[in-house]
Structure formats: C-alpha cells, structure tokens
Symmetry: C2
Subunit: 465 residues, 2 copies
C-alpha cells in the first residue's frame, strides 16, 4: 500500500495530497455531522490527466477511491466509510469556456456553483440551478447527485443542464463527451450514465452546461387555499395562464406557518384569518408575465380554488413572503426534533397521499404532529413530523426507521419516490432495495459490474449489497 501511496503522491505533487489527519478531517464528516468516515490519504489532483493516472494506478492495485466535491451532500455519498482514498476535485476549478451564442459554459468539476453562476451572468445569461448550498457545492458533485433546488419546476434538475461530460473511468481511461451541441444523435448518450450515479461509475472532471435567458419581470404571491386539491388545481391554472412560466410553487400547511410565526423574528401572517393550507408561487419571464399570473390568480379566486391572495408589491414584501417558506426548516428545528422525509408523488396524487400518510403515522405514533411542506409544483414534499411538546426526544426519534418505512410504503403505493432530490448514498440503500423492482436493482448491478468490475469507485454507495 505504501508503494501505491508514494506513486499517487508523485502524480499530484506536493500541493496535491495530504496525509495530515487535521487537514483531512473536514472532508470526513458533513455539515449535519450525521456521518463520519476515515481516510489515510487525501488526493487533490489539478488536472484530468492526474485523475486519470490516479485511477489507472488504483485500478491496477484494486484500491478504492471516494470522489468528493464541496461535501454538501445529504446522504453520505461523498464520505469514505471504509478508509478509502479520498479524491477531492476542488483544485480542478477552471472555467474552460463560456459562449453567449452557444448559451453554454464548460466548467471543471471543482468549480463552485455560485462561481459558475457569476460567469454566466457576465454574458447576460442564467445558469439555472440554484440551491441553499450554492456557495460551496461544486459542479462535479451537483451532477453526480443530479441536484435539484429551487428552479427545478421551470428548468429541470441538474441532468437537464448537462450538454456534455468529461469523465475518468474506473480503469483511468478518459471519456470525453464535452460537446456543447443541442442535437447529437450519435449512439448511446453515454453522459447520462454518470449523472446521478454518485461517483460509482466514473469520476466527472468537467461538464458542458446549458445557459438560459434571464427573466426580465417577476411576480410573487402568497395564496390561502382550502385544501391540497385546491393547491393542485391552482398549479394547473397558473401553468395555463402563464404558459409554463411559473418558477416556484411551494406549499405549506397551517401547522408549518404557525411554527414560523412562533419562532422566526419578524414573521407575520399575511392574512387576517387562518387558512388550512398556503401556496407561495412565483412566475417570471417577459414583460406581461405578471399580468398573466394575476389573471390566473383572479380566476382561481372566482372559482374558489384560492381563498385569499397577497401579491408582493415590492422586493421587500417579496422577500418577507419567501422568508415564510425559507425559514420552515429553521422554525422546525427551533420547535424540536422532527422525523423527516424527502419524497415525491405524482402531483395529482398529492392530496390523497398526504391524507393517507398522515392517518397512517397518527395510528402508529399519535404524538407526531404533521408539518408537510415543499415543492408541490414538482410533487416533491418535505413530509415531516414534529415531536409534540412534552415528549421525550430520544423516545420520539427512535421511531425514525419505523415511521420512515410507513411513509415510504405509502409513497410507493402512490407511484412516488423515496428520494426526490437528495439521492441514495449510504442513507437510502436499504430503501432502494425495498422499493425498486428486482429488475431495476439487477440492471443497476449489471451497469456497476460493467463499468467498474473491481468496484473501486465509491464502493458501498447507492447499490445495495
């Protein structure tokens, strides 16, 4: 092993590695401290050639490698749990090209999302993905986890932004599909294999990403609705009135708003009377989008789909409305522990799913207080249950696995997903084994064997043993 390590160090040079536990430590745990790993060697290659040479050696030696970007993943995919070599892409941080007419940029894996966004902005375009961790999440990790975020309703997941990839395969060969074409029907679309594969099939070193025009007008509303079916109908109504220019459609229950009002300084109920459910929605695009958005809201009010509406009349008011949604997680944390789920269901099934799942959890754990909220526009709900006051937190959280399975079973019945945007990693491998069909799991294993026969790439992640 020490021979291998010396060879690896020689590839990356003195700036490209560390064996210092203090320097490696921040890479071994993530920000929620839910996972902790270990690694004897941190490699920080500066080029694709170095990554290629590293994997060629590791492949020969059968030494496992865990790739890591900004270390912002939530399911443990980027953590070395079995003392693997840790390969950070952080030094591969160049923007290789940027073109306004192609509406694309080519970024290396270690470019931080906010940096890539700034470059797009310089040519008057938008790199659509946006998420809370954009100041540290890196392009390679975002693609490897097929990240979601706040613009998915309008622009799709990370997958939809990828025009081409440069990937180092398990044996060190470099697969280069870094094209910026919008149309290219020349055989299997190989880049798709690596998007959302959590580094188990290859290591992404660079990506060509599409850019989109920037919206020139925006309208935001907070809407009181009688129930989730009304919220779903409102979604269809607004998509129709804006011709698909909605960029956010978020739902929260009264129970959630109450937590925000109780815990977040300056939070105010936009309405005089309480409503059972609320929608925060926003449309953006050309001049005229506000009018189209408002006309949809008006007709929804007339039809009783919406009970009451507040329109943001200033940027300050817009921010205060968004704050009611964005502080949901913080308010939940301040209230106490929660049992959490990152799930999606078909939008048409959202109301029935919520009703069914709340009843099932109540039957098993009456002290669980449902606080569902999330991106209803994508069918993605953060389907959380707050611990009731006066309960023992340890006793409450001991139900995590059991409640999760109750919820995921119902998600599954409704044709939903047990991981809408966070991925699988180590956290949801068991769920994958439970809810995917035998054929799906077998085909995933077939791909893993075909692309990484020695299983040196992020072993133990995503695919159940």
């Amino acid at each position: 092993m020490s021979d291998l390590f010396e060879q690896l160090k020689a590839i990356v040079g003195p700036k490209g590695f560390s064996t210092d536990p203090a320097e490696i430590a921040p890479h071994l745990t993530e920000w929620r401290s839910k996972y902790e790993g270990s690694s004897p060697l941190l490699l920080k290659p500066a080029s694709t050639q170095e990554v290629s040479a590293i994997l060629a050696l590791c492949h020969k030696a059968g030494a496992a490698v865990v790739p890591q970007g900004g270390n912002t993943g939530l399911v443990g995919a980027q953590i070395p749990f079995h003392n693997e070599i840790l390969l950070s892409l952080s030094r591969m941080n160049q923007i290789r090209s940027l073109d306004k007419h192609d509406a694309s940029l080519i970024a290396e894996a270690g470019v931080v999302l906010s940096t890539a966004q700034s470059h797009a902005d310089e040519v008057g375009l938008l790199l659509a993905p946006s998420l809370a961790s954009e100041g540290s999440a890196m392009i390679g990790g975002l693609i490897s986890s097929n990240a979601g975020g706040v613009n998915v309703l309008r622009y799709g997941m990370m997958r939809e932004q990828v025009l081409g990839l440069e990937v180092v395969l398990a044996n060190g060969h470099v697969l280069n599909t870094l094209r910026t074409l919008r149309k290219d029907n020349t055989g299997y679309d190989l880049k798709q294999l690596f998007i959302g594969a959590e580094g188990t099939l290859g290591i992404i070193t660079a990506a060509a990403l599409r850019l989109v025009p920037k919206p020139s007008e925006r309208a935001t509303a907070f809407v009181a609705v009688p129930d989730v079916n009304a919220a779903t109908a409102l979604l269809a109504r607004l998509q129709e009135s804006t011709n698909g220019l909605l960029n956010a459609f978020e739902v929260l229950a009264r129970s959630g708003l109450e937590l925000v009002l109780a815990h977040i300084a300056g939070a105010k109920d936009p309405f005089a009377a309480p409503a059972p459910w609320y929608v925060l929605c926003e449309a953006s695009g050309i001049k005229g989008v506000s009018e189209a958005f408002l006309s949809g809201l008006e007709s929804a009010l007339e039809d009783g789909i919406a009970a009451d509406v507040v329109i943001a009349s200033s940027e300050a008011q817009r921010e205060s409305l968004w704050r009611l949604r964005e502080t949901m997680s913080e308010a939940q944390k301040l209230e106490g522990p929660s049992l959490k789920h990152d799930i999606s269901v078909p939008v048409s099934a959202a109301a029935r799913f919520i009703e069914t799942a709340i009843a099932a959890v109540a039957a098993r754990l009456p002290e669980a207080r449902p606080v569902p909220f999330g991106h209803l526009g994508d069918g993605n709900l953060h389907f959380n249950f707050q611990m009731a006051k006066g309960t023992d937190p340890k006793h409450y959280l001991a139900h995590w696995d059991e409640i999760q399975q109750i919820v995921h079973d119902i998600v599954h019945e409704f044709g939903g997903s047990f991981s809408a945007e966070h991925g699988v990693g180590i956290m949801k491998r068991d769920a994958l084994a439970r809810y995917k069909t035998v054929q799906e799991v077998e085909l995933m294993r077939t791909l893993k064997r075909a692309l990484d026969p020695k299983s040196i790439l992020n072993p133990g992640k995503l695919i159940p043993d």
Copy 2:
C-alpha cells in the same frame, strides 16, 4: 427454427403474426426505398406480456429480433437486414393514462404521435414533439431514435419528454420505470439507456411523457440578414428579448430561396431586393410575447444584425412564410440530385463551419452548389449540395461517400455531430467508428454486451462491428 416459430405464433395468437410475404413486404423497406430487408416472420404482440414471452424464447434460442414502430426512420435502424424476426409494436396502441394535473400521459409504444398529441390536446395541454411523419411515427420508435423535429429549440428532443419507460430486456424481463414524477433521485436513471438506443438494448413497450402548457400567442417573422454571424447574433438577441420563448429559428441561404421561388407554385420573395441569407423565426407564449419578439427585431434592425424584416400579419401570411422553408427539400428534389448531410455544430461556430466546408467541397467538386439550410437555433444544418445543371447525376452521386467524409471531417473539427437528429442505424455506423473516440465506442460495446450478451436485439445496428 420451425419449432421456435410455432411457439412464437402460439404466444401472439392468430391476429398477432404473419408469414405472408405480401403482408410482411411493407415492413421491409422504408419510404425512401433506400434500404430493403427480409424476414420470415412478422410478430405483432398485443401486450407487454407477449413481448416478454417472445424475447424470453428468442433469448433462449439465440434468435435475433428487429423491433419496428411506424417504419419512418431514415437510417435503416428498423429494417431486418439478416432475415431476423420482425417485431412490430403497432398493436400496442393504448393510451394507458392521461392526467392534466400531472401534465403527463402514458402511451404504449405503438401509439401514433398525432394520436398522442390529440389526447394531450383534449386536456388542454401540448405534447411538444412535432415532425413531418407524426401521422405514422410511433411513440416507441420516436423514443428509440430520440427524435427531433420542429419544436426542439423550445422543448428539447424526445429524450426531454420522457418521464418513465416500460422496457422488455433481451432476456424477456420487464423493466418498469413508468412513473410520472418530475423528481426521482433513486439510483441510476435506467430509462436513459433505452432512449436513442435504436432497440439495441431493450424493446420499449410504453412510455410516460410530459405535457406542457399551450402557447396563447404567436409571432412569426422572415428576416434578411447579411451573413451567418448576423443570424447567430439575431438568435441571441431574440432569445434575450423573448426570455427564451423562441420556438423556431430556421436559416436558409439565398441559393435555397431561389430554388423555392423557381420550383414551388405560389412562392414569393418576401423582399424587393435579394439578401445573402434569411432567417425564419417564431416566438410563442403568453400575451406579450409578440411585443417582446418585435422589440428584439427592431433593435436588430437598428444594429444592422437584420437587414430587413417581414412580420406575418395573418395566419395566411404566416403559412406562406413557413412554406418558403418547408418546401426547401421538395424544391431541391425538383431541381435535381443533392449530396445531403444532417449535421450539427455549436451555434457560435456555424458561420466558420459553413465557410470552411463549402470551400473544401468546392475544391474537390466544383460543380456542387451549396444550399445550406436548417434549424440554426439548435445548430442543426441540412448541409446539402445541389448538382449543377448539365452534370451527369450518376457521376455526381458517386461522390456521396467522399463528400460526406470531407463534410463530416470538418463538422468533427468544429466539435459538431455527424448525425444531429436522424440517428445511426446502419447508415452511419462507419461514421460512428470514425468520429467517436475509442473510449466512446468501447463503452457502447460494453453496454451492449452487458444488456444483450447474445446480441439478439437489432444486431448490426448503431455499433460498428
């Protein structure tokens, strides 16, 4: 073999097969009569279960199967060249579900595109893909070839419409990912493998497709531009002014317009004076899109990006402008034979590519008259060369392979694609071998071996021997 055939016939029943050469014949050649195949047995299964049973048997026997939809492909992918069993999906023609709130439908592989479009229309939504053959092309084939068409600029290729697939694998196992979710990060996105794979990795039996809101306003213009760089600048200008609501951006050279004016009854030059290049562009969406489109055109005129503009002021005028573009192929055919290419390049490289490739072809074949046109918005050009009058057609067309390679070599230098939307099939397997890297071809072979180890699925297609 006859035992196998009897078993296969028993699976599908009397309505589900034919051995009658007259009945099989229309399936063995395509509409341009460029290819002709042969098959002893046509199977027309009516259900996924039947397809599964067929493949299980064929897998065991090592008997090859060529799947076929509407038989509208242009590269020979759907033709049995080696007397394979022909499997038509045409009887699997049910719409399994349709939901306005999910904005999705689930269609079987044999549903004709125009039928699926009508169903979407019934719930007030749009199934975006649209192409000349939509009255006969079927969903399974469209997905297997990742079809393009006229709405790609706005809505993407067929791949972007697919939410989930039902696929029968080589061994007869059914892979079911028929979900209508917008967010589902639960392991490898297996459906991507089969999109654009031309039936070589599995047989698609049904698909969940996304639907989009219908535009409520539309504006169309025919623009004279000084050169291709100006056309490219106009594209960026209009994408900015409409915030990405362009749905068409087509380019044609003066040489092309002249052919249309010469051969197509009723065709009129929209302008008094000739211009070297023309753009047909269209934007659609909410009320206000016309104004945004016109303001972009105005600023382009001011800056000299556009030399002259005609705006369609009626549906009749819109149709006559579109006719100038849509009759390009017909006019070319009436003029005489052409050497044709379906290529794409990065939009920013279009002008330099056209100049370079025209010069290279002129150096080799001075009698070739360049008539480039196509979907410049996607970088996709039908880069055709018309035979000069008085030339011998046989002598001219004998240069097909040589000129194609000259053009494709230059496409490749510019980071382009030798098949923008038609696929590979049998026609472009050699080009795939020439222009893809060793790593790309090897990975394609790895996937083929992993998913179809006995090579019974559309053997000889897409992947070079």
